[in-house]
Each structure stands twice: as structure tokens, then as C-alpha cells.
């Protein structure tokens, strides 16, 4: 049906603004604050979450009719833990340097409330294809959020943004503020970004509303 197609696209997009996990729902805060000291950390954390989220959403959705309601949370955790172990082993094998930094936060994805939240609030009630879209959308939005926070903190905290061996700018332009790499810096960045996004969304909504009001007035 046409309607499901529309909602399929929306299921993917909604994670970016309307149900942005970090700035709107304020969930998954633990990795958000802990690993975003650099862009690259944020990126790999995000990628891991996308994989886990898509995996768990698909399986929860596919088996939603056979999972007994009473024990659904333990079942969710199994579906989440499986891809987390896969990610952890892959990362250890191929990205040992990143794994050293992310460390405990990779296995901790199991209890990341973003993933449980999507499973409980979305995948448990929706068809498989929608759930996949939702998982990918939310996961990618989460990745972008982590990278943006990481970029700001890395830039202000070290004066540079580094990708592997390349750094921009080569020499810091100002005296970096060490506080930005510490948890308080993370909270401040998160708070400011959350405020800015909400202001922007409120402005856009207001303009939309004002536009439609005029439209009604004319016809």
C-alpha cells in the first residue's frame, strides 16, 4: 500500500530529527558522553550501534508474534547480545587500537537503552522491513550525533580534528581547553547542542504553522 511506503521512508528519517535518540529522546547517554572525545571514536561506536540495532530490530520484529509478553525483555537482550559479541570480536580482530579506546563501552552496548527502547517501542509492534528501516535510521542518527559531539570536543579540547594520521589544522590555532575532553565538557557540549537543535526545530515548526495559517486564510 501507498501508506506503508510513506511510513517506510518516515521510519528511516524520523530518527534524525523527530525521534533523535540523543537530542530528543535523551537515551543512550552513557556511550554518548564517554566515547565522544574524538570524531573517530564516535564514528566506530556509531557503526557498532547501527549494526546491533538493525540486527536486533529485525529479529525482534520477525519473532514478535511468538515472543511471550512476560519474558520479552530477556529475549530482547539475547537478540541484542548476539550482535554485540560479533561486533566485539570483529573489532578486537581488525581494529585493536579503536577497541582499546572504546573498551568496556562496546560490550556495554548490550544495555544501551537506545537499543532496548527501539526493540520495545518499535520493533515489537512493527513489520520486519519497517523495523529494519527504523534501526538503520536511528543508528545512523546516533552515529552522526556522536561524530558531531566528538568533533566539537576534539577540536576545542585538542585544537585539531584527527583522522588516523591526518590532522586538521596541522598546528592548533588556539590554546586547547582540556576541560572539553573531560566529562563536564561532554555535558556542556551535549546541553548546548540539544538546546540549539530544539530551538531550530521550534523555529521551523513555527514557520510551518504560520505558513499554513496564511494558507487557510486565503482559501
Amino acid at each position: 500500500m501507498n501508506k506503508s511506503k510513506v511510513s517506510l521512508g518516515y521510519d528511516f528519517v524520523k530518527g534524525f530529527i523527530d525521534e533523535n535518540p540523543t537530542f530528543k529522546l535523551a537515551i543512550g547517554m552513557c556511550p554518548t558522553l564517554a566515547v565522544t572525545t574524538s570524531v573517530i571514536n564516535g564514528f566506530w561506536m556509531g557503526v557498532s550501534v547501527v549494526f546491533v540495532l538493525a540486527f536486533s530490530n529485525v529479529f525482534v520484529s520477525a519473532l514478535r508474534k511468538v515472543i511471550p509478553d512476560e519474558i520479552r525483555i530477556p529475549v530482547f537482550v539475547i537478540f541484542i547480545a548476539t550482535p554485540v559479541v560479533i561486533v566485539e570480536l570483529l573489532m578486537r580482530a581488525y581494529l585493536p587500537a579503536i577497541y582499546d579506546i572504546l573498551g568496556i563501552f562496546v560490550p556495554l552496548i548490550v544495555v544501551n537503552c537506545l537499543i532496548i527502547h527501539r526493540a520495545e517501542a518499535f520493533a515489537y509492534r512493527q513489520p520486519v522491513i519497517n523495523s529494519l528501516m527504523d534501526g538503520l535510521g536511528s543508528g545512523m542518527a546516533f552515529t552522526i550525533n556522536l561524530m558531531v559531539i566528538g568533533a566539537i570536543r576534539e577540536f576545542l579540547g585538542t585544537g585539531q580534528i584527527a583522522f588516523g594520521s591526518v590532522a586538521f589544522p596541522e598546528v592548533p590555532l588556539f590554546e586547547p581547553a582540556a576541560v572539553m575532553l573531560t566529562p563536564p565538557g561532554g555535558f556542556i557540549t551535549l546541553g548546548v547542542l540539544m538546546a540549539l537543535l530544539n530551538i531550530a526545530v521550534a523555529r521551523v515548526n513555527k514557520r510551518k504553522k504560520a505558513g499554513s495559517d496564511i494558507g487557510y486564510g486565503n482559501c
Binding site: 572539553m180 573531560t182 563536564p184 556542556i188 548546548v192
Partner: protein, 329 residues
Amino acid sequence: MENRLLITSSPHIKSTRTVQGIMLDVVIALIPAAIAGVVLFGFRSLLVILASVASAVASEAVYQIAVKREVTINDFSAVITGLLLALTLPPNVPVWIPVIGSAFAIVIVKQVFGGLGANFVNPALAARAFLLAAWPLHMTQDWLNPRAYDAVTSATPLVAFNSTGQTALTFKQLFLGQRLGSLGETCILALLIGGLYLIVRDVIDYRIPLGYLGTLAIGTWVFGKPGAFFQGDGLSAMLLGGAFIGSFFMATDYVTSPVTPRGRLYMGIGAGIITLIIRLWGGYPEGVTYAILFMNLVTPLIDRYVVPRYYGYGHDEMARRKAAGGETR
């Protein structure tokens, strides 16, 4: 025709005291310390003070214009924040430090939480803590020798005092501010003039500085000397570091201190205890900033539980006792 008469709820007369007046009093009280800072540490101090105040006022104006609120820079509260922050900085810091610090204090700590009266920690101190975490080297090494104006990066006398329990400085040197330290914290004489002015003008409650300095002095006397009790130098503990400026000007900030007299005493004592712990057994040389910030956070709790004795309380208490007695019988 009838004149239009105004109808309002009583009372119909108000005292002449205003928020602006109170803030102006605080600014006046800080001027001696600012002058002392300039005299002791030279022209650089003036630059730091002016940069800090200008940045605070400009930040407030810019933010309020940006969010389309009424611009309230004429209430002097931003001036106080800028001035207080400047007085707690080392005199030789780069000028951009007070500029960023004041902007942080006004925008992040004060305005974002709702502006005047709504901040939950002292803006100047929160900004100082931020600067200390952001640029620790500048905040702990950019000292100037008093009256000689040459740069020094050694530790302040408080560090030695904390570990040995004694200081080589005489009382006169300490009282007049002849030591390394932040530009407004060293001259006790100037701070005392300002603090007494505020107490006389009934702006601040003497209980906060009394509780704070008293606790600090007694605590240092008891525990201050390594390996011995009751031999510490309580007097120097009060005069060294930022205890004086903190207890008279920071901890007494209305918005972030308790509203009842008894609560204020408790806040002073609490801040004194935390300062003592940080100084003697903590990792930082000075604990005034964190002690007061901590007590700022505890203030709502103090306000909740430390309440004045209401009129007629004795009757309720008697009734309660009677009821309790009846139950046991």
C-alpha cells in the same frame, strides 16, 4: 469626571531598597580589593579586570538580545560576576582567559538557566572551575610577584602551608597581600573593608563568613600541623588562599545561598569543612572554589530542612508531645 485611582493589593508603600542598589553596594565593596590588586600586581591586573567585566556585560547583552528578552545589564549583576571572576584569577593570565570565563559564567551558568535569580551555582565560581579545568597551567602558574611585577610560576605559599602547617610570611605581609596569589584574594585589608561595608549595609549576612572562616581556623588549628593536634596556624589558614574573598563575596551570593539565617550559618560551616578537607587531605592546593560550589548545590536542601521557628510553634510542639505521651501510656 472621576480620577482614575489605582487599585493594588496592600501594602501601598515600599522600601527604598532595590535590587540595583544591592548590586551596586556589592560593586562598591569590591572596589578596594580591585584597587589593591592593581597596586600589588600592576597594570596587568587592571587589564584583566576590565576585560572580565566588559566580557560579562557584553555577553549578557548579546544573549538577551539574541533570545529577545529585555536587556538587564543595568542591574549591575553582570558587573559583579565579571569583577568577582577577575579577582579570583592569577594576575598574569592571558587576557582571553577572563573574556572566555566571563562569557561562560553569564551565558552557560546564568542566562541558560533563566537569568538573574535562577542560576543554581555562583556564576563567577563556576566559570573559575571551568577555567581551572580547561587551562590548568594558566590558572595555577601565571603569578606575579607583588610590587615587583615579575612573572613567577612557582606554587603559592598555600601549598607549602598545607603540607607543613606553617608559613614564612608575617601577619603584616599576609594582611596587606604581599604574597603570590590571585589578584583580588591577597589583600585581606581591602577585602575586610568591603566585607564590613556589606555587613553594615545589611547586604550580606555575617553568619556565612563567620561560619566559614571560623570553621576553617578551628579546623586548621586542630588538624593543620602534620603529626600533631591543636598546633596548627588557624589565623594564617584564613588569610592564605581565597578563603576571605570566598567567604565574604562568593558564598554570600543571595541566589545560591540559603534564605534563613540559621541555614546561612550551616552553609558557612559546611564550606569551611570542605575547604579544610581539600586543603589538608585533597589533591588540590586550594578548595574554596569547590567548597562553595558544593554548598551551592546543597543550598536547596538546607532551605528545605532548616526553617525558621514559626509563631505559635510551641503550642504545636506541646500538642505533639502530649499526643506522643498518650500513645506510650
